[in-house]
C-alpha cells in the first residue's frame, strides 16, 4: 500500500533513510548528547555522574571562557572585514575573460588544496623570528616575533585564515558576477556610466545574495576554525588566540573536564544557530525580492 502510493506520487521515503540514519546517529544524537553531558561530570574515561549545573558553572565562571568568546568574536568580525572586500574584488576581477585572469584564478585555488595543518606549519616556518623570512631578508619589520607576541598574533591568525579561505570566496563571487546579465552593463555603457559607477550601481546590488551566502559561510566557518589555530599557535601566547572551539577541546581532552567542555559545545551550537537564523532572515528577504525582480 505504502509502496504503491509512493510509486504513484514520487520516490518513497526509504531513499532518504540511509542518509538520515547516518545523520541522526553521528550528528543529531551527539547534539542531544552534548546537552546531556553538559549536566554531568566525566573525565573522559571513568563513569559519568550527574552534576546538575556544576559543569555550566565551571564553564561560565572560568575567565578563559569569556576571553575565548571575545577572541572568537574578534576573529569572526576581522575575518569578515578583511575577506569580504578582498574576495569580492578578486571575484569581480577574475570574472573577466582574459586568459591571464584564468591563469590567476587557477593559482588562487592552491591554498584550498592544503590542509589547515600544512598551512599552519608553512606559516610557522615562514614567520620564525630566527630562521624565517624576516631575518633572512634582513628586513627588521618582517623579523618580529609574529607568533610569540600577544599583540601581533591575532593579526597573523586573521591573515593566515584569509590566505586559506579568500580563494574559496573569490570563487563564489566569480560565479555570482558571471550570472549578472551582460545587457545590464551594455545599457549602462550606453548611458555613459564609468567603471566605478557600473560597479556600485550594477555589480554590487546584483551580488547582494552572493554577499550574504559568502558571509554566512565565513561567519559559521569562523566558529569551526580549530586545526589551523591549534597547529599554528595552540591558542597562545597565553590565551590570546584561544578561541571557543579550541577552548572546548583543551578543556575536554587536555584538562579532562568533559562536562564543562560540553557546556562550551552547547554555547557554540547556540551561537551558530542564532547567527544562522539572523543571516538567513537577511538572506531570505533578499532572495524573495530578487525573485520578484526576476519575475
Amino acid at each position: 500500500m505504502k509502496v504503491r502510493g509512493a510509486r504513484a506520487e514520487g520516490p518513497s521515503a526509504w531513499m532518504v533513510v540511509p542518509a538520515l540514519a547516518f545523520f541522526l546517529v553521528f550528528a543529531v544524537l551527539p547534539l542531544l548528547g552534548v546537552v546531556f553531558l553538559s549536566f554531568t561530570h566525566w573525565n573522559g574515561l571513568g563513569a559519568i555522574t550527574w552534576a546538575g549545573l556544576d559543569s555550566w558553572q565551571t564553564a561560565l565562571t572560568d575567565s578563559v571562557t569569556m576571553n575565548a568568546l571575545v577572541v572568537t568574536l574578534k576573529i569572526m568580525v576581522y575575518s569578515l572585514l578583511v575577506q569580504v572586500p578582498i574576495s569580492l574584488l578578486l571575484g569581480v576581477f577574475t570574472a573577466g575573460n582574459q586568459r591571464y585572469r584564468a591563469v590567476l584564478a587557477v593559482l588562487y585555488f592552491v591554498p584550498l588544496l592544503l590542509s589547515s595543518a600544512a598551512v599552519a606549519i608553512a606559516f610557522k616556518a615562514l614567520l620564525d623570528p630566527n630562521f624565517g623570512m624576516g631575518p633572512g631578508l634582513g628586513l627588521p619589520f618582517l623579523a618580529q616575533n609574529w607568533l610569540g607576541s600577544a599583540d601581533l598574533v591575532l593579526f597573523v591568525v586573521i591573515f593566515v585564515i584569509a590566505w586559506q579561505f579568500v580563494p574559496f570566496h573569490t570563487l563564489i563571487y566569480q560565479g555570482g558576477v558571471r550570472q549578472i546579465p551582460a545587457s545590464f552593463y551594455e545599457a549602462a555603457q550606453i548611458d555613459g556610466a564609468g567603471r566605478l559607477q557600473q560597479f556600485f550601481h550594477i555589480t554590487l546590488p546584483q551580488l547582494k545574495y552572493t554577499i550574504i551566502t559568502s558571509s554566512t559561510l565565513m561567519v559559521l566557518g569562523s566558529l569551526a576554525y580549530f586545526d589551523l589555530i591549534f597547529v599554528l599557535t595552540a591558542g597562545g601566547p597565553g590565551y590570546s588566540t584561544r578561541l571557543l572551539p579550541l577552548h572546548m577541546y583543551l578543556t575536554g581532552f587536555r584538562a579532562n573536564d568533559m562536562g564543562a567542555a560540553s557546556a562550551l559545545g552547547v554555547i557554540l551550537v547556540v551561537i551558530g544557530l542564532g547567527l544562522a537564523l539572523v543571516l538567513q532572515r537577511l538572506g531570505g528577504k533578499n532572495r524573495s525580492s530578487s525573485q520578484l525582480e526576476g519575475a
Binding site: F23, G272, L277
Partner: protein, 296 residues
C-alpha cells in the same frame, strides 16, 4: 556564402557600438584590479614557493642562506627522511579513510537529494530540515559525544572511527548541492519515463544520475578534499601511530623533526601532492560545480 557573410556583419557593428559608448567601460584595462590581482597572487605564491625551496635544502643551506633564495645544492634527502618515517602508511590510511567516507557519502546523499526533490511526506521533509540545520550548526561542537560513542562501540583507534562521522558530516552540503542540480532536471523527462512503466529506482539511476553527474563529481571531490585534510576526528578518535592520517602525521613530524624544518616542509609537500594531481585532473569540474552549487 551567406553563412560566412552573416556573422561577419554581426561582428562589425559591435566594436563600433562599443567605441560609440564610453571607452572607459570594459575595453580599457582595469589597472587597479590588475594590480590587486597580482599582489594577491604574490601573497598566495610566496609561502608555497618558500615551502618547496626549503624542502629541497640541506641543513647547512637552510641555516646559512637567504630563506627565499633557491637552494644552491638541491637535495631530496628530506623527502627520503620523510618517506622512511612511515609516510607510506599514513598515506594509505588517508586513502582508505577518504575513499571509505566519500563513496558511501555520495551514494546516500544522492538518494536523499533525489527523494527531497522528487518526493514528499513527513520523513522526507524532516530529513531535509535536519540536513539544512546541519549546515548551520558547528558540528564539531559534538565531538565529545562522538568520542563517547566511538569508545563505547570499541571503535577507538580504528579507521572506521574516522569514516563513520565523516560520512555524516558530508551529508548536509552534499544534499544541498545535489538537490540544487536535481531541481533543474525537467519534470517531463520523469513523466515520460513513468509512462514507460519505469520504477522510481530506475528513474533515479538511469535518468537523474547521468544528468547530474557533474554535481556528483563535484561533491565527491569537495568531500574528498575535506576528509583528506581533516584533522579534528583523527586527533580525538585515534592515538596509535599506525592509525595516523596525513594531516595528523604533519603535526607529529613537527615534534619529531623539530629542528629539521626542511624535512617537515617536505612532508607538507608530499601530503599535498595527491590533491594537486586530483585538482589538475578535475579542476573545471570542481570549480564550475562549486560555483553553480553556491549560486542557486
Amino acid at each position: 556564402m551567406a553563412l560566412v557573410a552573416e556573422p561577419a556583419q554581426d561582428t562589425v557593428p559591435q566594436p563600433r557600438a562599443r567605441s560609440q559608448g564610453k571607452p572607459v567601460g570594459r575595453t580599457s584595462p582595469n589597472l587597479l584590479g590588475g594590480l590587486g590581482g597580482w599582489v594577491w597572487l604574490a601573497l598566495i605564491i610566496l609561502p608555497v614557493y618558500y615551502v618547496i625551496i626549503t624542502s629541497l635544502k640541506n641543513q647547512a643551506g637552510f641555516f646559512g642562506s637567504n630563506p627565499l633564495a633557491p637552494p644552491t645544492e638541491p637535495t631530496l634527502a628530506n623527502y627520503r627522511t620523510v618517506l622512511e618515517a612511515d609516510f607510506a602508511r599514513y598515506f594509505v590510511n588517508s586513502v582508505i579513510v577518504t575513499v571509505g567516507s566519500v563513496i558511501p557519502a555520495v551514494i546516500v546523499s544522492f538518494m536523499a537529494a533525489y527523494a527531497v526533490v522528487r518526493g514528499s511526506g513527513r520523513i522526507i521533509g524532516t530529513a531535509h530540515t535536519l540536513f539544512l540545520m546541519g549546515l548551520a550548526i558547528p558540528l564539531q561542537a559534538t565531538i565529545i559525544p562522538i568520542y563517547f560513542m566511538i569508545t563505547k562501540a570499541q571503535l577507538y583507534d580504528t579507521l572506521l572511527a574516522l569514516i563513520l562521522p565523516s560520512i555524516a558530516f558530508a551529508i548536509p552540503i552534499s544534499v544541498l548541492i545535489l538537490s540544487n542540480f536535481l531541481r533543474d532536471v525537467p519534470r517531463e523527462l520523469f513523466e515520460s519515463m513513468r509512462l514507460d512503466g519505469c520504477s522510481e529506482f530506475t528513474m533515479m539511476w538511469r535518468l537523474a544520475l547521468p544528468l547530474v553527474r557533474p554535481a556528483v563529481v563535484t561533491i565527491a571531490i569537495y568531500n574528498a578534499l575535506h576528509v583528506w585534510n581533516g584533522f579534528l576526528f583523527p586527533l580525538i578518535l585515534t592515538q596509535d601511530p599506525d592509525k595516523r592520517v596525513l594531516p595528523l602525521s604533519l603535526w607529529a613530524f613537527q615534534d619529531e623533526f623539530s629542528v629539521n624544518i626542511p624535512a617537515v616542509l617536505a612532508a607538507v609537500v608530499l601530503s599535498t601532492l595527491p590533491l594537486v594531481v586530483l585538482y589538475v585532473l578535475a579542476r573545471r569540474q570542481l570549480v564550475s560545480g562549486l560555483t553553480a552549487g553556491f549560486n542557486k
